[in-house]
Symmetry: C2
Subunit: 186 residues, 2 copies
Amino acid sequence: MTGTPLRADARRNRERLLAAAEQVFTEQGVTASTEDVARAAGVGVGTVFRHFPTKEQLIEAVYQARLSRLADLADRLAASADPGAAFAEFFTTTVEGAATKNALAEALSRAGVATSTAEVGQWLRRALGVLLTRAQETGAVRPDVTLPDLMGLLIGTSRAVEHLSDDPGARTRVVRVVLDGLRVPG
Amino acid sequence: MTGTPLRADARRNRERLLAAAEQVFTEQGVTASTEDVARAAGVGVGTVFRHFPTKEQLIEAVYQARLSRLADLADRLAASADPGAAFAEFFTTTVEGAATKNALAEALSRAGVATSTAEVGQWLRRALGVLLTRAQETGAVRPDVTLPDLMGLLIGTSRAVEHLSDDPGARTRVVRVVLDGLRVPG
DNA sequence: CGGGAACCGGAGTGATCACTCCGATAGTGT
DNA sequence: ACACTATCGGAGTGATCACTCCGGTTCCCG
């Protein structure tokens, strides 16, 4: 996959760029200009386009980073002794972490669509599927909910929470509503 | 408020523009160019900017139209004999109508923020407040949910449904999950 | 029907943005 | 230390977009 290993300064700049891009895109949205990202990273625009030939690819890279953090969290929680609690914790943590600029919601939304996020998306879906199935087997989550349903709810609840970002009480209330709806009815 | 009444052709073009803008923005998002809107309306760009001096104002006008339709629906349902059913119907109808391009969600999201949507936003909030309070009084909706919570959930569920736009079964399942979560727990 | 005002259309303008190119710079193997 | 090359920085380029301007057209009123 990886051809020649990157030179030291190249790798350093690549990581700086990813971090800067994540911050800038989170604050201003993906419509932020490439020069803004370059300035935030302390490099020239040429460097941005050498590492990410297209703005689209830079955006995708940021999304991939976010998605792999999520997948990692799901993997860790999948081993939990209490699947219901693990499920709830993943849901809450994910949604609370999305309190700015639709960041995670957009990333999640692409997980099932964009080609370049295919691998990470598959990883995340598999991990989430385990989390969901175990929670359903122990009766903690209603059995009719599917994996796509869950992803839609994650995206939607993130959006709801983002809209309520200035009121922590409202945030927890909204998450509780959705989690209650995910429990077995009756 | 309105100075001289518009000439016949001016009024006709204004309505054509609003309809075209709504369609174009729904299909391509608000990043669609002004010329696209003009072409869809069958007028020149000059005409667009005469009626809406800024693209932002055109967007706001489209959002206002959407919001007033929602507020109208809420008003009609507020008179219902079954507040719980009225609440559920409003929720379902609103969310199902938002199946494309974040259209309603964005409009709703602005209802509490943007200045020019202030009036319509206030109307919608008042109507929604009545719907919510009545449903809570009859025990159909849990009492701890507030009006901002409800708006957040409307926005979020719209987003979730939009993401699942190709699977009607998933759509109804997701709406049911949120509506169940909004009922009195236990 | 006719004159005058309101309105229309679309070429033109300035700004912005994604992306390119090449001289300068800095890392790496010997 | 030195040469060789990967990498860097940022001025330059072409395209696009929101917005303006004015000659021509259409509507309204007496």
